[in-house]
Subunit: 162 residues, 2 copies
């Protein structure tokens, strides 16, 4: 019998969950405050986690790697029926969704990467002309007329290069 703590280790202490899942005790406390995981309390007010908490914490970690904020993880866990421990079908749905998020983020980065490639030799960084700089600055939205033609910024900042 490895632990006298909880008979046959059907449940985990916070320290055990921390060690097995690779997150710190303080992070587990934090997740619990945020409603991401739940525990029962012993008569001495200590937390005891079902083994399924391992699964939930694993899911939280994977979601974080995929760039999903904890708040969103909390929402999807809260939306699960009953016990808010995802089963295989829940996971299938969630992971498809998060994979799609991941795909979008990857596509954005690839796009940026390509533009870096294009611009390395140019180096203009023009607010108006550079494909790398421009994407957020919707041309013409902030003023009348074709800004490109009006203020003629172009790649003209470059007398600096010896």
């Amino acid at each position: 019998m490895p632990g006298t703590r909880n008979e046959i280790a059907l449940e985990l202490t916070v320290g055990q969950l921390a060690e097995r899942s690779g997150v710190t005790v303080s992070a587990l406390h934090f997740y619990e405050r945020q409603g991401l995981i739940t525990s029962r309390r012993t008569s001495g007010n200590q937390r005891r986690y079902a083994r399924s908490a391992l699964r939930t914490v694993a899911l939280i970690r994977v979601a974080q790697r995929a760039g999903i904020p904890l708040a969103e993880v909390g929402e999807v866990l809260a939306a699960l029926p009953d016990r808010r421990v995802p089963n295989r079908r829940d996971w299938e749905r969630l992971s498809r969704r998060w994979q799609a998020d991941l795909d979008r983020r990857i596509a954005e980065l690839l796009d940026l990467r390509d533009k870096f490639g294009d611009c390395i030799g140019c180096g203009c960084l023009s607010i108006d002309l550079c494909r790398l700089v421009n994407p957020w600055d919707e041309l013409g939205v902030r003023g009348p007329g074709p800004r490109r033609l009006i203020d003629g910024e172009a790649c003209a900042d470059e007398r600096d290069d010896g």
Copy 2:
């Protein structure tokens, strides 16, 4: 003559720089406090930016899109000779470096994405076995013996699926 503010608009006010670069005035103040951009002051203590500040702000924004923290941008700008406005050769060097960072981040996300693909049908999320969950948890490091064989967690958490 568009502006009486600074003769032929050789310099930009903070509001003008904000509008042209797409960042807020408060962000520009912040960048200045962080040493990312510099300005001269008028007799009335107002900031005036050289047009090259547009270029620097553009570079900051691009770096941010690429996931480079401002502190690092600050370091590289501070390392530039003289005026800390990057010229074409500086940009070439920086952009190669940041493109490499980007490549690494993309590779990580692609790896994660693949693992999502593998695991969608499995759904085990096992701390010990799942390729998706495991990467941070260096097997065997935290205890003697091969954990995979010893504690036999496997994909055994799944009685929950109806």
